[in-house]
Symmetry: D2
Subunit: 297 residues, 4 copies
């Protein structure tokens, strides 16, 4: 889906699939195609209807990897993977011809197809991330009990205790937000009703994951930054979680928009909830009773 | 309970109640006695058994406010309350004589009495704080829809959207942690089993409250820092929540200690979870099968 | 300058000054007019040229406080000041007539007049804030050495040491940024050349002030939130610093825009600084020498 | 210097060098010996005087790498380096015999030797890190001007502008603190007088480096987490900076202790700076003049 010049923004897509008889002929480039080097087929989001609306322009098309014109430009890696050994391919499609029946889902509905996966996918990511966070947390705790420095176990030092306490709170709060979101998905069976919830766990996920792994690294000292623990990979994973399936920034905007649907603008210059307005409203409602009480004194 | 020289640390208490016939004679000072100026009686935590263990030295004693020797030195206020109008008294007890039957609970068990209230009290504080946070959040959202600046509604500006999104996530995550804690209290009916949970919401409470109120102030501009909104009082309230019933630092230590009870130190120089150790363990377990597979190729 | 419906955004101003013979006749409302209740005259930013550009529409006009039609609606306070005792007036101007010669600076140049003060004003605010931060820092340090709890001086607890260390770093870093900005003002004698620097200290100021005061409150416990220390007022002051003379958000946008003037967009799909592009550039420059070396081996 | 069971804490060292005639015989293990695999000789900090004080027990000894008994157990890597290709060796010394003249510096003064390098070394680290931060900042700015998404350049989005503004402020504030520290080193020519300053830049360095690189990653999206930019290595570098030459926690304690040398405990129950005490002091100083003024009215 992603393209090198515009990421996952549909309005920026340039990879085109043009009808030619019973075929589509695809031209363009795709970026970060996961596992393309191992795959028998690729799923390409290509613009089939350039004049349609932003979200109705593209279709999903299945392309066998050995189709002439499919070229892996670079096998891009994540983090410090050595050049050429990565698994996120930069792929060029040059006059790639596939039969129209390779269409995946309705024509022009590529985004609907993608979104169907993305809603659930973000929750699955969050669930797996809860597990990763717990794993880092377990290492942190075991380490705190195993290492002595300056005459004291790490577990007895306040700066370590704070790391453990903050991590436990964040992990548990995140876990509960994921669980409620999953429960709401089951309750509503309608992704539109849980957009805010899904965007929220998508936003919280990279931060909690990052922060717990960071503290775990620090508590392990040189071992923490070494390749003898999986922490550097987990750390990079937290950044991937803040980018894959939509960057955090986009999800924050979604949350705000969804939340604000339940509110209305003030109609008055100073909103109802200012103290002068609340005092005036209270006096209008109860002022005569107060006066009666005062007179009766 | 608190004293000016040592806060709520029982080992620092100097206020003494000495037996004299059927009476206790109390001498000492107490600090931040809430609502003392309005009260008919005070509850004094005084050292009755100075030679007992730290948590068995003090008793709770009921003292009528008009007992000779009870003196309010200053009515201390919170935040910017004008001098003398506060409701947290600094009280001196000079040869204050009350009958022994004024003892509240068993002698020497003042802390047990206090803790009985504090566990539930912290949860109640957290529940009320959820409500206060929601109140600030509502103002923030209504404001974002009501104010236009630089040709755009606040609600359409990313820096405002981020404040709303972050606040919603923190509020909901906190709400869920409070709810689970309350549920666990009902399940276990044993405060010792929920110490970690209660310390966690006690720790999370002032931070979420503070952060949401801070953003609400900022979005309201001059109105936010003015005395026409209740926000400055709520802000100071968030600091009070980080100090009352034990400072955040103490609760973080509690969380760490409780969490660490479920872990054990590594017995080996490098813990089991290092990659070399996990690789060795995997090879010990499955190495012969891998070799067989390789040979069979 | 500020108005209740639009803060300090010039495009939102509605207070009008209409020419009538040798006079201006002013109608409108102004919000947060500092010290209006004590003042002999007010300086009103009023729209005199509604059809001019956004920053050329308004003029500064001196209005004696006793001019008929000047009415203080409310004396708004900051923080928890009691209603009516504040010093930031909400003022209404109804058919207020003053001679044209009361114009302060050229007609339509109200913003130029205001900005002349604001540049230097923000630096002065920052300088005074350095002093306030130092004051809070001093209290924090003295307290840490004076209070014992749980058998240990606060100064010996890591969570307190961290507060002191973080505060010192932030205070000193902020102090140096203020000093360099002042030095640059002297060097350049041109506010346009230090807009980035001034916006930076304006942005950093409320955050450092807030964070140091917050830690100082926490270390003082109940005394910290009480009205026996000036900390709650200083805390509210930090929020005022994030709003007065332009909110932090506006200054962040200014910094970004000023910084970005020194950069240019990439002309290529992948920027020059990607590793594949840098490798290719290095090979183009030095590849033949490398080949010669390899051959010579 | 570091050992696997106790990091860089001298009291934990177990690697011993025992005199035998004109030789030392070394037994023990060392961890994270940088570039040992390429080195002709190693510098070993070994306990020569086990009964001396904590900082007088160890000596620096030069050991040629090909001395019998020197064994690299594992070439440990940083981050995601493939196993065995790292450059931080885990080294075992078994009956390694070297002449006494290989002593580097005086016997028992291993720490003094190490500290001589560390003071300056930390400043050099900080200076190089200023450069790395600038490099990440430059990429961030160029990217913001080069990428369009959702119909807008990244540079025009507030969440991006905030990242640029925060990064500029932190980078410049850190740069100035490094510069002042270097200047003070030149002024004082005495590391003891700049311990606070050096610990401060050592503490600030990993945080600013981490935060700027993190934002740079996020703004680059998939490219940011890929191996086509150097950002993941720089990110891990920021964690290394928080551990190497002493973890951040140790340096924070140093700052606090150094700062607190300039303060004294309050001698009174309530410190001089409380408002009641300041009011009383002011009245004692000026009260009679105030009374005279009042009478004269």
């Amino acid at each position: 889906m992603s393209e090198p010049q515009g990421g996952a923004d549909p309005t920026q897509f340039r990879c085109m699939a043009v009808e030619d008889g019973d075929d589509f002929v695809i031209n363009g480039e795709k970026w970060f195609s996961s596992n393309a080097r191992f795959a028998s087929f690729l799923i390409v989001m290509a613009v089939t209807d350039p004049d349609a609306s932003a979200h109705g322009r593209a279709s999903m098309i299945v392309v066998p990897t050995d189709t002439p014109g499919v070229e892996i430009i670079r096998n891009v890696g994540v983090g410090d993977e050595p050049p050429g050994h990565g698994t996120h391919a930069y792929v060029r499609y040059t006059d790639v011809r596939v039969p129209k029946q390779n269409l995946l889902g309705p024509r022009g509905q590529g985004f609907a197809v993608a979104q169907t996966r993305l809603g659930g996918g973000r929750v699955h990511h969050a669930m797996r991330t809860v597990g990763q966070i717990k794993r880092a947390f377990d290492m942190m705790c075991q380490r705190a009990l195993s290492r002595t420095t300056k005459g004291e176990m790490l577990a007895d030092k306040q700066m370590v205790q704070e790391k453990i306490a903050d991590s436990w709170i964040e992990m548990e709060a995140f876990r509960l937000l994921v669980l409620r979101t999953a429960w709401r998905i089951d309750q509503f069976n309608d992704y539109l009703k849980v957009r805010k919830d899904i965007a929220a766990i998508k936003t919280m996920m990279p931060k909690v994951y990052h922060d717990v792994v960071s503290r775990c690294i620090q508590i392990h000292g040189a071992l923490g930054v070494s390749n003898e623990l999986p922490l550097s990979g987990m750390l990079m994973g937290s950044y991937v979680m803040g980018i894959a399936d939509g960057p955090t920034e986009v999800h924050k905007v979604t949350i705000a928009r969804q939340v604000l649907r339940d509110y209305e603008a003030s109609e008055t210059l100073f909103p109802d909830y200012t103290l002068p307005n609340r005092r005036a409203a209270a006096l209008a409602l109860l002022g005569h009773e107060i006066e009666r009480e005062v007179e009766a004194w």
